[in-house]
Structures are given as structure tokens and as C-alpha cells.
């Protein structure tokens, strides 16, 4: 058992358990807090994959900005009490969970059947180099500068659209 595997197991367990708890909690505030835990453990998983820049961006953008926004909206509109898990339309929910488990088993079978680890083997030096902020910034501002600018305009239009939508009174 190397440290890498120990870290992977810890982060993967935290990730899965907090995801499942996020889906099953009745109170939306507790759900949002479990989603923060999930995003934090995903940032840890990104670190085990040598993606330092994306791990930091995950914590800042997702766990910081987006989840604060979610919590803000939850506390602003204070949604009414939702019926407990599996109380309302239980057959439909059991059916949905069964379908999801079935599809997951299919995906897992395909992943294990195709044996991707025979085709790709991680070279640590190349993997570390690919995740540095230097390499990502170099690619982003040379080869992918047009999509980068387009994303800037997308964010601007989203900010304006959110203002317009939240301001307008529907009659």
C-alpha cells in the first residue's frame, strides 16, 4: 500500500459518500454543504492525478464561488419542506435507482472489458508537466486563445442575463 493508493481510496470514499448523502438529504442547506465536501475531495483526487492548477481552481471556483451562490439562493427563497426520501411516489424512485444501477454496471463492465490500462501507462514526468500552471497557461494563451475569449463573452452574457432574469417581474 503506497501513499498514492491510500489517498485515492480516502478521497474516493469521501467523494462517493458525500455525493450519495447530497442526493438523499431532505434539507437543501445540508445537501449544499455535502456538495462542498464532494468538491473538496474531488480537488484532492485531482492532486493525486498531478493536476495542481485544476485542483486549486476547483476549490476556488466550485467550492468557493458557485456553492456560495447556491447557499445564498437557498437561504433567499427558503424552499418549503420537501417530502422525505422514498415517501413520495416510491415506485418511481425505486425504478429510477434501479435503472441508474443497471447503467452503472454496464459502464463498469465496458470499462473493465476494454482494459484501458493496457493502452495507457502514466509516465510521471509527463503527467506532472501537463498539470503545471505554466503548461496550461502557455496552451491557453497561444493555441486556445480564441475559445478563451469566447468564454469571457459567455460569462459576460451570463451575468447580464442573470440580472435581467432576476429583475424582471412576470405578469
Amino acid at each position: 500500500m503506497t501513499l498514492e493508493i491510500v489517498l485515492f481510496v480516502i478521497f474516493a470514499l469521501v467523494c462517493l459518500v458525500s455525493g450519495i448523502l447530497m442526493v438523499t438529504r431532505v434539507n437543501p442547506v445540508i445537501s449544499a454543504l455535502f456538495l462542498v465536501v464532494n468538491f473538496g475531495s474531488l480537488a484532492g483526487l485531482y492532486l493525486t492525478l498531478n493536476a495542481q492548477f485544476i485542483a486549486v481552481a476547483q476549490v476556488i471556483i466550485y467550492a468557493g464561488a458557485i456553492m456560495v451562490f447556491f447557499l445564498f439562493v437557498i437561504m433567499l427563497i427558503n424552499p418549503e419542506h420537501e417530502k422525505r426520501f422514498l415517501e413520495y411516489k416510491p415506485q418511481l424512485k425505486i425504478f429510477a435507482v434501479a435503472i441508474a444501477v443497471l447503467v452503472f454496471l454496464q459502464i463498469a463492465y465496458i470499462i473493465l472489458f476494454s482494459k484501458p490500462s493496457e493502452g495507457v501507462s502514466r509516465e510521471v514526468a509527463a503527467s506532472v508537466k501537463a498539470g503545471t500552471i505554466e503548461q496550461i497557461g502557455r496552451e491557453l494563451f497561444t493555441k486556445y486563445v480564441l475559445p478563451f475569449e469566447a468564454v469571457g463573452y459567455l460569462l459576460l452574457s451570463a451575468a447580464i442575463g442573470a440580472l435581467v432574469l432576476a429583475k424582471k417581474k412576470f405578469k
Binding site: E4, I5, F8, A12, C15, L16, I20, M22, V23, P28, S31, L35, N38, F39, L42, L45, L49, A51, I54, A57, I61, Y62, I66, F69, F70, V73, L76, I77, P79, E80, E82, Y88, K93, A96, V97, A100, V103, A108, I111, L112, P116, S117, V120, R122, E123, S127, A130, Q135, I136, E139, L140, V151, L154, L155, A158, G161, A162, L163, L165, F170
Partner: protein, 101 residues
């Protein structure tokens, strides 16, 4: 010994299915939205896994763009939810049925 790539892919598939279950069984619009964020993150995990295992940073650049699009989507979606709540005083998706008739 390094971790086989299958572990990351299966973890990502499990997270994606958790998100799908959340979208299907929950009736609170905000929690449905958070489940969509969970699915976006599981796709990000797959992209970063392949990026790391192939030693190629294009996957991580794509994840950067996915994060920007997710931020835009969260802003617009939550604004829509606030507008709906103002209009109908509920975020229950079963009661938001003005397009059904």
C-alpha cells in the same frame, strides 16, 4: 505501483450515476441543479484522468472551459429559479407545469 486508470473511470461513472439519480428522484429545483453540477464534475474527473495518464494538458484546458460554462449555467439557472419562485412561490418541479397545458 501506480493506480490503474479503471479505478478513476469507475469512480467517475459512479458519481455520474449519483447525479442522475438526484435529477430523477428529487423534486426540489435547487437540488436538481446541484445534481447537474455533480454530473459536470464527474465528467471533469474523466477528462483529467485521461489528461494525466496521457501526459497531455488539453484535457485540463477543457476542464477549465467546463468550469467557466458551469459558472455561467449556475448564474442563469439560479436566476430562473428566483424568477419562478417569485411567480409561483414554489420550487417544486411537479408544481411548475405552465408549459404542460
Amino acid at each position: 505501483m501506480q493506480i490503474p486508470i479503471e479505478y478513476y473511470l469507475i469512480l467517475s461513472a459512479a458519481l455520474f450515476m449519483t447525479g442522475i439519480v438526484g435529477v430523477l428522484i428529487r423534486r426540489n429545483a435547487i437540488i436538481v441543479f446541484m445534481s447537474i453540477e455533480l454530473m459536470l464534475n464527474s465528467a471533469n474527473l474523466t477528462l483529467i484522468t485521461f489528461s494525466s495518464y496521457l501526459g497531455n494538458s488539453i484535457g485540463q484546458i477543457f476542464v477549465f472551459f467546463v468550469m467557466a460554462v458551469a459558472a455561467a449555467e449556475a448564474a442563469i439557472g439560479l436566476a430562473i429559479i428566483i424568477a419562478l419562485f417569485r411567480n409561483k412561490l414554489t420550487v417544486n418541479l411537479d408544481e411548475i407545469n405552465i408549459f404542460k397545458w
